[in-house]
């Protein structure tokens, strides 16, 4: 029989707590990285499509966002089989709808953003939620969110004309893909 004193027992419990925290964070990073890589590919393709067919930008981004939400649901469904954690449910769908409704309200009702302003607003708006999520789920979200926000603003102020869309394909689409791969290694 093993005998331990209160100090050793407290140390063992603290060890357990630390491991549990790391497992939870690793599961969150695992799921988030898959979603990030998928979003990155969609955003990259969306910017290229918008650059190729500028007149159809509205349809392009509507399709990208619908595919993004569907993709999140599919990844979450497969993730549930592996992890037993349901990440996408009715509440998450409601959160997405509120997120888009508020974004549209700000950019098209309260303000009338130009396509260029839209191109900067939506990525920054998305990244704000990454940064907020990072306050609870880990610093990687904050780093990725801040990095893409800063690069988006640099492009908005210094990259002229339609080249801005190519810039965004690289920094937003590519940034999410790289961020997702980085999280997978973590």
């Amino acid at each position: 029989m093993t005998n331990v004193d209160a100090r050793e027992a407290a140390s063992a419990l603290s060890d357990i707590e630390q491991i549990v925290r790391r497992v939870r964070q690793s599961r969150i990073y695992d799921l988030a990285s898959q979603i990030m890589i998928m979003s990155g590919v969609l955003v990259f393709a969306g910017n290229l499509a918008n650059w190729t067919w500028p007149r159809y930008g509205g349809y392009v981004w509507l399709s990208v966002n619908v595919l993004n939400v569907v993709g999140c649901a599919v990844i979450s469904m497969f993730g549930y089989q592996r992890t037993g954690v349901r990440a996408f449910d009715g509440r998450m769908l409601a959160a997405f709808l509120l997120f888009f409704a508020f974004g549209i309200f700000c950019s098209s009702v309260l303000g009338h953003f130009t396509p260029r302003q839209m191109g900067a607003f939506w990525p920054i708006y998305f990244m704000l939620f990454y940064i907020l999520a990072g306050l609870w789920f880990g610093g990687a979200f904050v780093a990725i969110g801040l990095g893409i926000t800063v690069l988006t603003l640099i492009g908005y102020f210094f990259v002229g004309g339609f080249a801005f869309l190519l810039w965004m394909a690289v920094v937003n689409g590519g940034g999410l893909i790289l961020g997702g791969l980085w999280m997978r290694r973590g």
Partner: protein, 102 residues
């Protein structure tokens, strides 16, 4: 007072059980490489302690090929989850008893 579980109490085995127990029972378990990263153990050390836990019936080890790569997945069994819960309860009892005496 309940007794501590000698098999689980060893520090690395405690970490292995804590990691596996943190997953939902419906989850598929943890891959060996992930477990190694989470516990900070070496390959040989981790393998030996998983074997001890498997012999006690606390974990199940599943070896399969994913593509061409061999993948070992470790899952806590119902007996393992029960033993771990009792072990944690005993640790908490020890702390509570010490606080009462103080």
């Amino acid at each position: 007072m309940a007794e501590l579980d000698d098999i689980i109490h060893q520090p690395l085995r405690l970490r292995i059980m804590a990691a596996l127990n943190a997953l939902s029972p419906a989850a598929a378990g943890l891959e060996f490489s992930r477990l190694k990263k989470l516990t900070g153990a070496t390959d040989g050390n981790l393998g030996a302690h998983i074997e001890t836990l498997a012999k006690a019936g606390y974990v199940a080890v599943d070896k399969a090929f994913v593509g061409r790569k061999p993948q070992t997945t470790v899952t806590a069994t119902a007996a393992g989850r029960g033993a771990f819960a009792r072990h944690v309860a005993t640790l908490q009892e020890i702390i509570a008893a010490s606080a009462r005496q103080a």
